[in-house]
Amino acid sequence: MTALLLRDIRLAVRAGGGFGLGLAFFLIVVVLVPFGVGPQSELLARIAAGILWIGALLACLVSLDRIFALDWEDGSLDLLATAPLPMEAVAAVKGLAHWITTGLPLVLAAPVLGVLLSLPVQGYGPLVLSLLLGTPALSMIGAFGAALTVGLRRGGLLLSLLVLPLYVPTLIFGAEMARRGVDGQDYTTPMLMLAGITCGTIALLPFASAAVLRVNLR
């Protein structure tokens, strides 16, 4: 399992691996919003938390189809299926590798980009915490979507349509937690809900992903 994780991270970081893809997309969305909204710092401060969350979510989405598609195309997925690793572990490790190469950089970049959106000082802690808690769920749900569409040519559109509704609860509670943090309110309830969603997806979705992968490999 460690070998698979290290290989996936190494592949992502090397040339053509798409490591910077999500991060660059996040940067573009967040940098463009102030231009679109105009130079009103009070308005930007009010929507900053939501924009950062939507940016992170979309940045996660653009790199999802790579999770299983590349391994499917070059035959590695067939070989992994006959290897001693259980398929559930493969799905979980692939989700984890996606989070490390996409979700974690987004969490680290969010405070820097918060400055661009004049995010109030008290909002930084809750924002980073909400992204840290929420992005693993985005990666695990995304891995499930990628497993569902793995055999399809150009399955990216279908993948987005399948995954976006599943992302909504994470987005609602994550953005709510960040917004309450910005307003200086108590954010315990959305934080617990967000943590619950993430724990649930990590516990259940590898099994679902493994089941659909087995069907797709037939």
Binding site: R7, A15, G75, L79, A81, A83, P84
Partner: protein, 205 residues
Amino acid sequence: MRLTVRDLCVARGGVRVLDGLSFAVAAGEALVLRGPNGAGKTTLLRTLAGLQPPVSGGVEYPADSVVYAGHADGIKPALSVAENLSFWAQVFGRKEVSPALAAYELEPLADRPAGFLSAGQKRRLGLARLLVTGRAIWILDEPTVSLDARAVAMFAAVVRAHLAEGGIAVLATHIDLGLDEATVLDVAPFRAVRQELDDFDEAFL
């Protein structure tokens, strides 16, 4: 170590392609599958490897003893030859990759990114993967595609050494490997007869 197939029926895309197959391969034996394109050799091999369930009948072998090599080699172009091999070695819980590199004369290429290899060199790397897994039953689908005569001889020597150690090989191939001891099975006579449409789903197949 023994691979036993009893009254096996396999299907591709819901359509039965082979029916009533029974054979057994003992340790140290090789089975060569022959048959025209589309006869169901790949489907049979994927079923043997456990990638898809049989429609009926059974495949028996000791657990965790099979390794499969299909049309695609599962090579990552961004990783070097040695990194590709050592990844598969680690997945199968082993470390040694140099005998596998040596068997297919890949040492001079060990540090080269696999994306720069020729088709035949990639295939040799894909076949070298079998050696690092340490599994006893090799299921090989067209292993000699894009290999030159010398590489085919290399492959035949590796298979012979594997059989001598008590391994099993089941391979689909159209060329003569010079494996005189191998049993040849022509799958064409086992072609499944068109089944009656007795099911709602089957009306759409």
